[in-house]
């Protein structure tokens, strides 16, 4: 049921127009961070204010909306954002990846392949991939303008010289269509290959940092690497304890104080769908 005192999808129309213009420019310049006048939302920064604003600007009354937080539909963040739009936009919500038309995500790409017509909205904490290498916005903006990404390669090289391999495991930098270096948000690098050549539209919203960027469908997204140290999408080397999947990203769950642990799919919908189809892992009850 829609709470009548609110405009459709909470935000006022002028704010939505401003966000919509930023989304269109973002789609026209894949990987470029478009500044936008981020609003205060009824949730703290870091809880997805950017993603929520992008979702509010994108949702229509006929959408089915799904929210995941680290792959899970049932965590506080996911439940509260889903309820927020169920109340303020009166839209249908779902936990099924295949049924959803708009999916807001924090730090995961669903395991189930997305299809054309879907929109994936990422919550982004720090949109600037160069920020921890160069704190000044004036400088990083110049570096993007000049396509000066040597510093990022030095950082990856230093990883190799210190650890023997590229130790960046999440928010792994990518290059979009051979032009802009982009932060894919803190998704595990396991998810990076799914970002490239994806049939769905991918939108990235950073509320505190006031940036929106986007990837149109079928955009070429390459994880940065070296010829002799090629990019590798890594995951815990176990099958899922509940559904037995060997190709999904896993969470490690501590089960007791005696060293007991289990590995389970981080994507709850993927895991539940597999269990419903009869797949069982070694820890399944």
């Amino acid at each position: 049921m829609t709470d009548q005192p609110y405009n459709f999808a909470y935000l006022d129309e002028q704010t939505k127009r401003m966000i919509r213009r930023a989304i269109l420019k973002g789609l026209a310049i894949p990987g470029y961070q478009v500044p936008f006048a981020s609003r205060e939302m009824p949730m703290p920064y870091g809880w997805g204010t950017g993603g929520v604003q992008v979702s509010a600007a994108v949702l229509t009354p006929s959408d089915r909306f799904k929210v995941i937080d680290q792959g899970a539909d049932d965590t506080t963040n996911a439940v509260s954002i889903r309820n927020f739009f169920r109340r303020t936009a009166g839209i249908e919500v779902t936990t099924k990846t295949t049924d959803a038309t708009v999916i807001q995500t924090r730090h995961r790409v669903p395991e189930t392949a997305l299809h054309a017509g879907q929109v994936l909205v990422y919550q982004v904490p720090i949109p600037e991939p160069l920020r921890f290498l160069e704190p000044r916005e004036t400088e990083t903006r110049k570096m993007h303008a000049l396509e000066d990404y040597g510093l990022m390669h030095v950082k990856l090289y230093e990883d190799i010289s210190r650890h023997g391999h590229i130790a960046t495991a999440y928010a792994y930098p990518v290059k979009v269509e051979g032009r802009y270096v982009m932060d894919p948000s803190p998704i595990p690098k396991f998810d990076n290959p799914k970002v490239s050549d994806c049939p769905a539209i991918q939108l990235f919203g950073a509320g505190r940092e006031q940036r929106i960027y986007a990837l149109p469908p079928y955009t070429r997204v390459v994880s940065l690497d070296f010829e002799d140290h090629p990019f590798e999408a890594s995951k815990a080397d176990h099958p899922c304890g509940l559904c037995g999947a060997e190709d999904s990203y896993l969470d490690e769950v501590i089960t007791d104080d005696a060293g007991g642990r289990m590995f389970v799919c981080s994507d709850t919908d993927f895991c539940e769908t597999r269990q419903a189809a009869g797949h069982r892992g070694k820890d399944a009850a």
Binding site: E13, K25, A28, I29, A57, A214, P216, P217
Partner: protein, 188 residues
């Protein structure tokens, strides 16, 4: 249906109709060559319903607008003043421009953004007699292999793409249908 007073012809339910029009615009911009249908706006002639819906959805007091050539009529100015409120300016200062392909020339008048802020570029809404998935072959982000779109010409869009990441973005409108061509698309 054309309206006689400037008060009519806007969205009946602005929030939801603008949301649906935007989804059509976003799908069009994300999938160059893909043709969408938008409804809900009936602007005064000669503006098409699709161009009217695009202006209602994207423009407001923060977006300077250029009306090119014969579409700069008193009736349209009144309609825009009531429904959109965008300041009307010349091509050099506009964020959005609307008109036929011939009336919008020369393209060098419009802002293509700066190296630091390529998003500060104009979006041109080009009114076409007809819009079809044939003609120029397109390739680039948003297109699986290739797509086709009935562009008014090729050379101007090839020159525009060559400036990437700077450049203009185009929305083509005809009746209730629209398609888009961002600067990232290569016209073969």
């Amino acid at each position: 249906m054309q309206t006689s007073t400037p008060l009519g012809g806007g969205f009946d339910t602005p929030a939801t109709q603008a949301a649906m029009a935007f989804r059509a615009l976003m799908e069009a911009m994300a999938r160059p060559g893909h043709i969408e249908t938008v409804t809900g706006a009936t602007p005064p002639a000669p503006l098409s319903p699709a161009a009217g819906a695009a202006l209602l959805t994207l423009c407001d007091a923060e977006t300077p607008l250029y009306l090119a050539g014969p579409c700069d009529t008193p009736a349209l100015r009144d309609w825009l003043a009531f429904h959109v409120g965008a300041p009307l300016v010349g091509p050099a200062d506009c964020a959005f421009a609307v008109g036929t392909w011939a009336d919008l020339q020369p393209l060098t008048d419009y802002s293509i953004g700066t190296a630091s802020y390529p998003d500060r570029s104009a979006t041109l809404i080009v009114e076409l007699d007809d819009l079809g998935a044939d003609g120029a072959v397109l390739r680039g982000p948003g297109i699986k292999d290739t797509a086709a779109l009935s562009l008014p010409e090729k050379a101007a869009f090839q020159a525009n793409t060559a400036q990437f990441p700077l450049g203009l973005d185009f929305i083509f409108t005809s009746g209730q249908r629209l398609a888009a061509l961002p600067r990232s698309t290569e016209v073969l």
